[in-house]
Symmetry: C2
Subunit: 457 residues, 2 copies
């Protein structure tokens, strides 16, 4: 056992206590009455980073909550890893559904229950402790490390991208390391190597200038709700294929290697259906469920409204109908281009008997990390040494916009080294994090830094 | 001028004052705190009917508000006319939008402003005054008349049908006379000879057992909102033809005479579109706008809901979606049969990836009075003599369920002799009624009774 490993083992209890102190700070970024608490959490990290001996530890004020940077770069000729994490948390409400107080960490069955335990205080803190193990044991840090820790992830990171753009030199690196995702299952280390992008649209259909009596006008005037339904029905065919012209033009076809990686994933379709109480699944023809949910683009109605939604019957021919419709994107689809194709198509199929307006909400780029990237290989090896099990490579269906932004602005890949589990209840009452994975996370991080130089050669 | 006409002319002012007293009673049937007022309005009519010398004037208590009957049947060999009206009114709220108090009748530019002025106190009172003119002048009443006046029309007449069924002998008649509709335009007498029926359905589509993250599950799980839109889109084709198998089987085709009657109606399609702020109308191919709105069946979404309807973007794949969908029916479509056909069709096109439930709200039978019916002809002639203008025969797109019920239970046609105008603002603030039409209504009613015997021969 190396002195780093020994240090991590011997300080396990102390690391937990420090994490609990971190979790006691209710750093809810969306709630202005917690502004002081968010600052307090930032100060907690500043103290940590100073204490372990990092250089250039800096708290950068923004228009919102602060951004923290720090670094230790002992080797000009070795890779630089930029560690990203966030110290803000989601609100705890509904508080009455928590079995223990959200900001009083409570350990049950080897899990710590507290808001932020998994997302992302517990996960991001692993890297701080891994680097501490090198610094405090006088072990040469095998790579260069930099930190960027923000306090606004739960509110959409409004100040992060401008900061990155303005500080490219400070943040210059060879890869980003992020622990803010889940493993494929308990004791099953996994690396997320792909995330879908997003184009989120809103469609408004307007017919007559007022709600009409459906008896008096029904049959003579186009009904905006019927028209909207017809528009939505034309967005996909019966095989689940999206009908927007040009929609698939930039979709990178799945390679044999990718499809093989999907086959390796231990997926229980029966259990998946049972969990959702569905007798049948549905998606794009020719692809498996996991592929449809992460490697292929999708289109979903997220919201729908028109006319009378109350109890009983109201004979109204509504003046308006609306829908929120979003598309998950895969490389190399561009959110802006997809939004335009959607808008053009919807306008082209809209009848001239109604007025259709299409607006765009926020979007995000899809991202896939090449499985040949040496950082991924080193991370996989580190996981395998600690967990004693082969890593699964998986793509996720959701979006983490910052990953695409790091690629765009800094030109680097991100390694999504998640230590969470889907049962962690992120954003929900009774969020928790496995303490076993907290410790294995620290070990995996330390191992990753140790292994990375040889993979980079 | 006959003594009846003279009496009506000489008592014009007194009739107005009596109507205003009737309008001062806030007989809001839906509001239990006005229960005493509804009773007071009933008593007002009882006093009127007794005062003019009708027989068997009776107030029948029900589980709700009372029903009044009365009659004068001097001629065994002549037709009997059952006059239907209602003395209850809609609530007056929002009161702040009334320019004058809703229960203090105010005359402006020849119109009386008050809740119930047109719907239906003012209109139904015309017949009371017409009969009074015969009785008070000692003129032989040319026909037999009966009254049925209810206090629950605005709450769906829950006690009326059972009462009619239980009192068929008391209500035995050759036709029903109802003044509770609007004329086609100012100074343009019109008779509504058809009303559409109604089948009102609600469709619930359920997918997964909970709202899902559209990033994680989008593409793999059928979206209930998309599925609902696809179901709705299949209810009609691009020509506006309803696709439910068997839907048109019982539709009575329009005769050449009917279509000719439609052509006679002074319809300004340009003005109609302008009023609704529409550049184009839409409906079943092969029919004109008025035909589509009243002589042909229709299908409309009345309400639609699913997922997130708030501001901004929420990436939810909703667990549920729902719609209210109603169909207007024409003879000889039966609401119950149509409801079943709808339900069968929706179930047959629903994908097996979701659960679809269809429920039925209230329905109503369509009705059309044969234009050859002598009562209609007598009513038309009476209108023409008083208004000095040819009557228009029109069908309405809405429903007055009681008309179909009179046909079903008593086996008789109804004559819809409306004296209102669309600008009367029924159910809205500042309801009003033209006093000129109030007086012409009394004259038309009296003339109708005078002319009816010769048309019945």
């Amino acid at each position: 056992m190396s002195s780093v490993e020994k240090y991590i083992k011997e300080n396990a209890k102390s690391f937990e206590e420090q994490l609990f102190n971190f979790l006691r700070i209710p750093s809810v970024s969306t709630d202005s009455k917690h502004k002081g608490d968010v600052k307090k959490a930032a100060q907690f990290l500043i103290d940590q980073l100073n204490e372990i001996g990092l250089d250039k530890v800096t708290l950068h004020e923004t228009e919102g909550h602060p951004i923290i940077t720090a670094e230790k770069c002992p080797h000009e000729d070795r890779p630089t890893v930029l560690i990203y994490g966030h110290y803000d948390v989601q609100p705890s409400d509904p508080d009455e559904l928590w079995e223990t107080p959200p900001f009083e960490p409570t350990v049950k069955d080897g899990r710590v229950y507290a808001r932020g335990s998994s997302d992302d205080k517990g996960q991001s803190f692993t890297h701080v402790k891994a680097i501490e193990a090198y610094m405090k044991t006088g072990t040469d840090l095998p790579v260069n490390v930099k930190f960027i820790l923000e306090g606004e992830e739960e509110i959409g990171s409004p100040n992060l991208i401008p900061f990155i753009k303005a500080n490219k030199e400070l943040l210059k690196c060879d890869m980003v390391l992020i622990s803010d995702t889940a493993m494929f299952g308990e004791d099953q280390p996994s690396i997320t190597y792909g995330l879908r992008g997003l184009a989120y649209m809103e469609v408004h259909v307007t017919g007559p200038n007022r709600d009409l009596h459906s008896g008096v006008f029904g049959g003579a005037v186009e009904n905006p709700a019927n028209a909207l339904a017809e528009i939505i029905a034309k967005l996909k065919d019966e095989d689940g294929v999206i009908q927007i012209p040009g929609f698939y033009d930039d979709v990178e076809p799945m390679t044999a290697e990718m499809r093989e990686a999907y086959k390796q994933l231990p997926f229980d379709e029966k259990g998946y259906k049972k969990d959702l109480n569905l007798t049948a699944l549905h998606g794009e023809k020719g692809y498996g469920t996991l592929e449809r949910a992460s490697a292929r683009p999708s289109l979903d109605v997220n919201g729908l409204w028109s006319g009378y939604q109350g109890e009983g019957a109201k004979t109204v021919l509504p003046a308006k109908a609306g829908a929120k419709i979003s598309m998950r994107l895969v490389p190399d689809q561009e959110p802006q281009k997809i939004a335009e194709l959607f808008s053009d198509y919807v306008n082209s199929i809209a009848p001239d008997t109604v007025t259709v307006e299409v607006e765009e909400h926020h979007g995000g780029y899809p991202v896939v990390i090449d499985l040949d990237f040496y950082g991924l290989k080193a991370a996989a090896k580190a996981f395998e040494e600690v967990y004693n099990k082969d890593v699964l490579f998986a793509r996720e269906g959701g979006s983490i916009p910052i990953v695409a932004d790091f690629k765009k602005v800094l030109g680097v890949n991100s390694i999504l080294m998640g230590f969470g589990l889907t049962k962690d209840a992120l954003h929900s009452p009774n969020e928790s994090f496995s303490l076993k994975d907290f410790h294995r996370g620290i070990q995996t991080s330390a191992k990753f830094f140790e292994l990375l130089p040889e993979y980079s050669e």
